[in-house]
Chain length 345, copies 2
C-alpha cells in the first residue's frame, strides 16, 4: 500500500505569508487583502517576464520582513512558475543566497512547494523554508496563447491568468498563533483525455476529484467536516465538474459543496470584471492562500482547511502534437494551532 496522506512528525507553521498582485486583482473583491500591487502591472520593469520576476522578489522580501527574518535564516527556497524554464523564479530569486529548488507543477506549484517544505520540516531536515510561486497575465498570454497586444478573442471556458505572486515562510511558531500544516497529500498526474487548451478547468478536474476522493477516504473524514475546501484555479467549469463528481459518489453525496471555494472564482468580480471562467495561473492560488485564506485562519474565522493546488501539465507544443492535458492536484491540510492541540495529529 502506497503512502497517501503524509502525517507530519513535526508540523510547520506558516509564520508569514505575503501576496503581490496586478491591477485587475487589486480591483477584485479581495483587493484589500493583498500586500502589494502595481497599477500598471510592470512593477517598474521593461518586460512582462522581468515584472513577474520582480513580483517574486517583492513577495519573498515582504514575507521575510513580516516575520523579521533575513534570507540568511532560510534553509532553502522552493519556487516555480509557468514560464519556459521557470525563469521568473530563477531570476527573481537570484538576490537570495539560499539553496534553491526549482519546481514545475504548473498551477499547483505553490502547493507542491508547501508539501516538499512541510515534509522536509516534518523529517527534521529543514527548520525554515520559503515557498514562492507566481504568474503574470501578460507573460503567460505571450507564451501560451497570443501577446496581449494582438487582442485575440477568448473562449467562454477560458480562464484569465492571474498577475500575482505568493510567498510563504514555514518554520516553528514560537507564538502559537499561526496556521499550521498538519498533513499533506501529494497528487498523481491524471490524464482523462481533455484536449481543449481553452478549458483547463475540465483538464484539471479529474486530478482534483482523484486527490479529494482518496484524501477523504484515507482520512475517514467527510468533506463537510472541514471549515473550508479550497481548490487552486479550476474556474467555473472545473469547479462545477468537481462538485458534480464528488456528489455523484454515494459516500460524499450532499456533503461536498457548501464549504467549497475555488481561488479562480474568488479573485475577480464575476459581474464587473469580464474574466470568463475565472482566474488561473501559479499566482492565483498562491496569492489567495497567502492573503485571504490565511487571514481567515489567523482571524480564527476558519480553523480546518484543505488547500488543493491544481495544475495542467501541458505545453503549447504538446497540444500541437495531439496530446491531451494531464492534470495534477496537490493537497495541503491547514489547521489553527488550537485545532491541532485539541485533536492532536
Amino acid at each position: 500500500m502506497q503512502k497517501g496522506i503524509i502525517q507530519l512528525k513535526r508540523t510547520p507553521a506558516v509564520i508569514a505569508s505575503s501576496s503581490v498582485v496586478g491591477s485587475h486583482e487589486h480591483e477584485g473583491p479581495l483587493g484589500e487583502c493583498f500586500d502589494l500591487h502595481d497599477e500598471d502591472n510592470t512593477f517598474g520593469m521593461k518586460t512582462w517576464e522581468k515584472a513577474e520576476s520582480e513580483m517574486q522578489r517583492l513577495a519573498l522580501n515582504c514575507a521575510l520582513s513580516k516575520c523579521t527574518l533575513n534570507a540568511n535564516d532560510l534553509d532553502a527556497i522552493f519556487a516555480g512558475d509557468l514560464l519556459n524554464q521557470c525563469v521568473s523564479s530563477s531570476y527573481g530569486l537570484l538576490d537570495f543566497d539560499v539553496p534553491y529548488f526549482g519546481l514545475y507543477g504548473a498551477c499547483s506549484t505553490a502547493a507542491e512547494g508547501l508539501i516538499l517544505a512541510s515534509m522536509l520540516y516534518g523529517g527534521s531536515v529543514y527548520d525554515k523554508c520559503a515557498v514562492i510561486s507566481s504568474s503574470h497575465n501578460c507573460s503567460a498570454e505571450r507564451q501560451f496563447r497570443f501577446p496581449v497586444e494582438y487582442g485575440g478573442q477568448r473562449a467562454p471556458t477560458a480562464q484569465w491568468t492571474v498577475t500575482g505572486a505568493g510567498a510563504f515562510i514555514l518554520a516553528e511558531d514560537t507564538t502559537g498563533t499561526h496556521p499550521v500544516i498538519a498533513d499533506v497529500y501529494p497528487g498523481r498526474a491524471i490524464d482523462n483525455g481533455i484536449t481543449d487548451i481553452n478549458n483547463m478547468g475540465a483538464a484539471m478536474a479529474p486530478a482534483a476529484v482523484d486527490t479529494l476522493t482518496r484524501y477523504f477516504t484515507e482520512s475517514g473524514r467527510s468533506p463537510d467536516s472541514f471549515s473550508m475546501i479550497v481548490s487552486g484555479d479550476l474556474g467555473s467549469e472545473g469547479a462545477a465538474i468537481v462538485t458534480d463528481f464528488m456528489n455523484a459518489n454515494e459516500k460524499f453525496k450532499n456533503k461536498f459543496g457548501s464549504n467549497y471555494v475555488d481561488c479562480g472564482l474568488l479573485i475577480y468580480n464575476k459581474d464587473a470584471q469580464d474574466k470568463h471562467s475565472g482566474g488561473s495561473g501559479c499566482g492565483c492560488s498562491a496569492a489567495i492562500l497567502a492573503s485571504h485564506i490565511l487571514k481567515l485562519m489567523r482571524d480564527r474565522k476558519i480553523d480546518d482547511v484543505i488547500f488543493m493546488g491544481t495544475g495542467a501539465m501541458m505545453s503549447p507544443m504538446s497540444l500541437q502534437q495531439g496530446n491531451s492535458i494531464p492534470g495534477i492536484a496537490h493537497l495541503v491540510h491547514l489547521v489553527t494551532p488550537e485545532k491541532l492541540n485539541r485533536e492532536g495529529n
Copy 2:
C-alpha cells in the same frame, strides 16, 4: 549559519539505476554501459518530444525491473527535463500511478531530484523513491536553438545536448551491496554575468566552483581525498574554468584535477565524434551516473564519489531580453556501503 551539508540520518542506497540513450551516445566510449538505446533516436515515436517522454518511461521501467519493484511500491517520483513546462516528464511518467513531483533544475535536475529524495528518505518521510531526468538532442535543438533540419552551424564553445535518460531507485538496501548517498549539498543560483548562449559551461562554472568550495570547506576534506569528483555537463570550457578556479584557491592548489571528470567529456569520443565542447543536457549526467559511475562503484573500483549536477537556469527569451545566465550546482556524495560502515556518517 545556514545549513550547508545535509547529513542524512538515514542513508538511502541507489538500489537500481538505468540508462536509455540515443545512437551517438551508444557509439561513444561508454556505449556498452547503457541499458537501452535506439538507432534512429525516435524510440518508435512520431515526434522528438514524444521520443524523449518514451525514454523516461523506458528508463523508469528498466530501473524498476532491475530491483524487482512495481511502480506501486514507490512512494514518489521526482522528475524533470529541459522542455518547456517539463512535458517529457509529465507525459512520459503518466503510466505510473505514483505521487509526482515535477522539478526544474535545468541540467542539474537529476542531482536536484536525488537530493530531495535523499532528504525525504533521511527524514523517514519516504522509503522508496524514483528520480528520473532526460534530454533529447532534437527536442532541445528545436526548442532552444534551431530545428536540426535547419542545419545551423554550431559555435566552438557549444555543447551537444545528449539524447539520454537516467532513472534511479532510492531505498533501503537489504543486500548491503549498492552505493549509498551519504550526504547532500543543495546549490545556490549564481549569476556571474555570462550572456553567451553558446557557452553554457562558462555560465555554470561559477556555481560549480561555489558549491565545491563550500563543500570542501565545510566537510574539512581535500578534493584529492575523494576517489572521483564528477560534474554534470560543464564540457571542456566549463571544466577548464572550474579546474583553474579551484587551483587558484590557495587551499586547494594542486589538489583538484587528477580525480576530476565531467560527464559532458566522458560521453563522446573527442576525436571521432564532432561534439565541440562536449555533451550537455539533463540526460547527460543522469545517464552517465546511472550507468558508468554507479557501475564503477558497484564493481568497487571507486568508493567515495562527489556527483555534482550543473544547470543553466535561462530560457531563450530571458537571453533575448538581455539577461545573463544564472547557474546552479547541486552536489550528491555517494559512497560504497563498506566505506560508509568504516567511516560512519
